[in-house]
Amino acid sequence: MPSTSHLPPTVAARPASRWARLVDSDLFYSFIHSPVTILSALVTLVILAAALLAPVIAPQNPFDPATLNLMDGFTRPMQANEFTGNVYWLGTDAQGRDLFSAILYGSRVSILVGFAAVAFAAVLGITLGLIAGYRGGWVDSLIMRIADVQLSFPAILVALLIFGVFKGVVPPALQDRMAVYVLVVAIGLSDWVQYARTVRSSTLAEKNKEYVQAARVIGVPAPMILLRHILPNVMGPVLVIATIGLALAIILESTLSFLGVGVPPTQPSLGTLIRVGQDFLFSGEWWIVFFPGLTLLLLALAVNLLGDWLRDALNPRLRR
């Protein structure tokens, strides 16, 4: 009997202890004690959720021409349209498209491209970094020299170049459909160097430690050592780079779209909305460019702040 009365608490303690461990951790402590970080996490979550649920939340589908009424064009925010009497929170653009819905769908594209590009860059960079660090020799030199050369060029230039090649190679009929994927590849390829350099230097430090030596001695194959033993130990810094990289990728995507080489206008991102809205600035319709711009700024700022916090929280040198 006494033995069974002991049992339930230990069984129940399992999920609780995991939660307790999280609450107890340094990371959680520094999160709770930084109001700015909590605020940025909230802003990021709200924008992410809104983008994810766009088809549910948005009052109209802004890219279905059937739902648009030209009479609603240029409605000011929070004011009734002079012909139809319709009220839109954030106003409408030239075609009577509800800006709130357009922003929801636009941030969806921006965030999607941002995440995909970061994932692409991270996978490519981590793989090359692991190989370079573990193998050493000419493989290492080759990968790192390429990284050095690429690092001396700004990301935007690399991405633009890849886009130029894409336009030259792919027939125009396919270009609009493939634009999003090319954007992901272009942004990803312009940003892998960061990951590769960080992972390589951590791998160099890890590969001579005893646990790796031990794994090698008992005959674990190299790919397995890299993935199961070394990778988990080099992920900390990667997480920080990825978070800051997400903000950079979102900004880069909107910049490319703003320059007119990003996603096609039929599937606009925040950058495309800003590019289109810029034309109406001179006639005083400020809201068409203002609200997408504000969303972009809030998103980039919040993700940047999260990245800054993560970098400081994971860096033991900065702990007070």
Binding site: F153, G164, F258, L259, L296, L297, N304
Partner: protein, 327 residues
């Protein structure tokens, strides 16, 4: 030191060759150069004759060497879109970009260092905190949004500055300048701010961080103990030792300024090489793209080289140590 310089020179040449290879690859394999040069009516025989006379049937290494030789003389062929020699078009556009980059770079450096020193010395002042807060927004604000914001405030609402173009320019033979006319200067203000703001915040935060680090060191305490004036301690001892990383970053940022000029030039329709490049990307004008790539690479390589050499001037330790060890 000589060995170090030679090694860096060799590296630079290798980088330039790598970029030339990419550029040559674009030129040779993206689209058909012949199709872009002749009209629709050209017969196959005419096309083959042109192909032969351009040397497109030679072995690829020979073509690459010819490309490099031409590039070294500044010849990149004829723009598909404008039907003019690329070198002429770029020479015409370059002054606009260089003037813009120079003004915003110098402005960012001067104001950035001044604000960095100020925020480091008055660490907890309300003005310092306000500046630091604003700088965080400055880092997150995409360049094109700053430009649009400025246009809306100063061109649309206040109507004090022109929203696009370069204003009146004065022709100095091989160089056109907007710095000598009122309209040219007025046109320069907003693009220069747009381009320089990011660099300004970067330099400011860097100078502040370095200054705070240096101010904690023993030799600063000792300098204070010797009874030196605040002015001498801050500028003679502290600031001087923060300059090394500032030089590195500034050097690397000059390259970024020229690349970021693409965005600023698009927002303000500034007639520079950045705008030329973005139109080239949109119209797949390969010769212009290839030439721009080589030009930017050259600027980057030269700047990196100068930055490395500046280390020797600024940091006396390097002159002693590095001479034997190389990179």
């Amino acid at each position: 030191m000589l060995a170090f310089i030679l090694r860096r020179l060799l590296q630079s040449v290798l980088v330039m060759l790598a970029v030339a290879l990419v550029s040559f690859g674009l030129f040779r394999y993206i689209g058909d150069p012949i199709n872009n040069m002749v009209g629709q009516e050209a017969t196959m025989a005419e096309r083959d004759a042109l192909r032969d006379s351009l040397g497109l049937n030679d072995p690829v290494p020979v073509q690459f060497l010819r490309f490099v030789a031409n590039a070294a003389r500044g010849e990149f062929g004829v723009s598909y879109r404008m039907a003019r020699p690329v070198a002429d078009v770029i020479a015409e556009r370059l002054p606009a970009t260089l003037e813009l980059a120079l003004i915003s770079g110098v402005g960012a450096l001067v104001i950035g260092i001044a604000l960095g020193v100020y925020t480091a010395l008055r660490r907890d002042g309300w003005l310092s905190n306000a500046i630091m807060g604003l700088s965080l927004v400055g880092v997150s604000l995409p360049t094109f949004l700053i430009g649009i914001l400025l246009i809306y405030v100063f061109a649309v609402e206040l109507k004090v500055l022109p929203a696009f173009g370069r204003g009146e320019v004065v022709d100095l033979g091989w160089w056109t300048t907007g710095l000598l006319t009122t309209s040219g200067l007025k046109s320069l203000i907003m693009p220069a701010i747009t381009l320089g703001l990011y660099q300004l915040t970067l330099i400011m935060r860097l100078v502040r961080a370095e200054m705070l680090e240096v101010l904690r060191t023993d030799y600063i305490k000792f300098a204070r103990a010797r009874g030196l004036s605040n002015r001498a301690v801050h500028f003679g001892h502290a600031l001087k030792n923060t300059l090394l990383p500032v030089i590195t970053i500034t050097g690397l940022q000059i390259g970024s300024i020229i690349a970021f000029a693409i965005i600023t030039e698009t927002v303000f329709q500034w007639p520079g090489v950045g705008l030329l490049f973005i139109t080239a990307v949109q119209f797949v004008d390969i010769p212009v793209m290839a030439a721009y790539l080589v030009l930017i690479a050259l600027i980057f390589v030269v700047i990196n080289l100068i930055v490395d050499l500046l280390y020797f001037v600024v940091d006396p330790r390097l002159r002693v140590q590095r001479s034997g060890r190389g990179h």
